[in-house]
Symmetry: C2
Subunit: 187 residues, 2 copies
């Protein structure tokens, strides 16, 4: 079966996906995006972010709706448990990025998926953020992602997961360095 005969595979509109890639090849400026989140402190370790606008394809855009997310620390870490911890959102982001890529890449290669599940585990020693050890880092010491994928030939599925890892934005952000600047208006 060719792509032309089945333009939607795994819920991915492959015709539009390939057309988008062609458009970007013709004008690489389309590929420059800026994503954003705005955050507001509520109380203690509880705070809330909103995600709505972004820049991409040479223009300001918005998602169809704004989304708001609470973050907090659990009681054992002196919070009120009004939401996941910030580091749990990082684990979610990693799983989500690898899974989205997996679906796109499988569709582009003509590989059918029936089920994709994953668990992500991040080990962190809080001696770092507590400032109780100079030898322990603040962030995760390691992260383990476990995928369970069903669909076509297992070897093809493994190759698709591997390619997703190699083309994942969040995997790159976590496993490599991103420069971050922090500005403060305390006026």
């Amino acid at each position: 079966m060719t792509t032309t005969e089945n333009p939607v595979r795994n819920g991915v509109d492959t015709a539009t996906l390939f057309a988008t890639l062609d458009a970007v090849k013709g004008n690489p400026e389309i590929a420059k995006f800026q994503f954003r989140a705005s955050n507001r402190w509520v109380s203690g370790t509880h705070n809330q972010s909103t995600v709505h606008g972004f820049y991409g394809a040479t223009q300001e855009m918005t998602h169809e709706q704004p989304w708001t997310f609470d973050a907090d620390h659990p009681a054992v870490l002196v919070g009120k448990d009004n939401g996941p911890t910030p580091v749990e959102y990082v684990l979610h982001a990693l799983a989500a990025c690898l899974t989205a890529g997996l679906a796109n890449i499988a569709a582009a290669r003509g590989v059918n998926l029936t089920e994709v599940e994953s668990t992500v585990e991040g080990d962190i020693d809080l001696l770092g953020i507590f400032g109780l050890s100079d030898e322990v880092r603040n962030g995760f010491e390691q992260i383990k992602v476990s995928f369970k994928v069903k669909g076509d030939d297992p070897e093809k599925l493994r190759q698709v997961v591997d390619q997703s890892r190699q083309r994942s934005a969040v995997f790159d952000i976590i496993t490599n360095r991103v420069p971050v600047t922090v500005e403060v208006d305390a006026g």
Copy 2:
């Protein structure tokens, strides 16, 4: 005013915060945590993560409730916009981590906060994840965090933000390397 006279500052229970630090000093095993997310593919680039259980303080624990988050790509990136992109969750996580730390550190230092807002902007060139350039990385090229903080003396507020950056788990995860392993069961 001493901590004893005002154990709750900025919504942070400083008495419990200091007691927790003392407990960890007495038994560093308490500080070993594992956070987790489980993800399920829905269709196309749409998938959903659940955050509930974690390990910490030498035992299995759960948040007071499970939380579920949708991630997707917007239409311009061939998705259905059922939720933020994975990379936007990373920006939220960074803002949330810095803000939670800011509130804790300010409380521990006796610095009062009245308002904390931040915006996080992440620049990404999608030529990387599209596989159209070997010179462009997959993840953010740079991230800019802009804080607006009100409360006590501006110089003290700036110092608190700086200390939060130095003790932030997510700032460390993004600005340094975390080893990530990916396992696949395609059976």
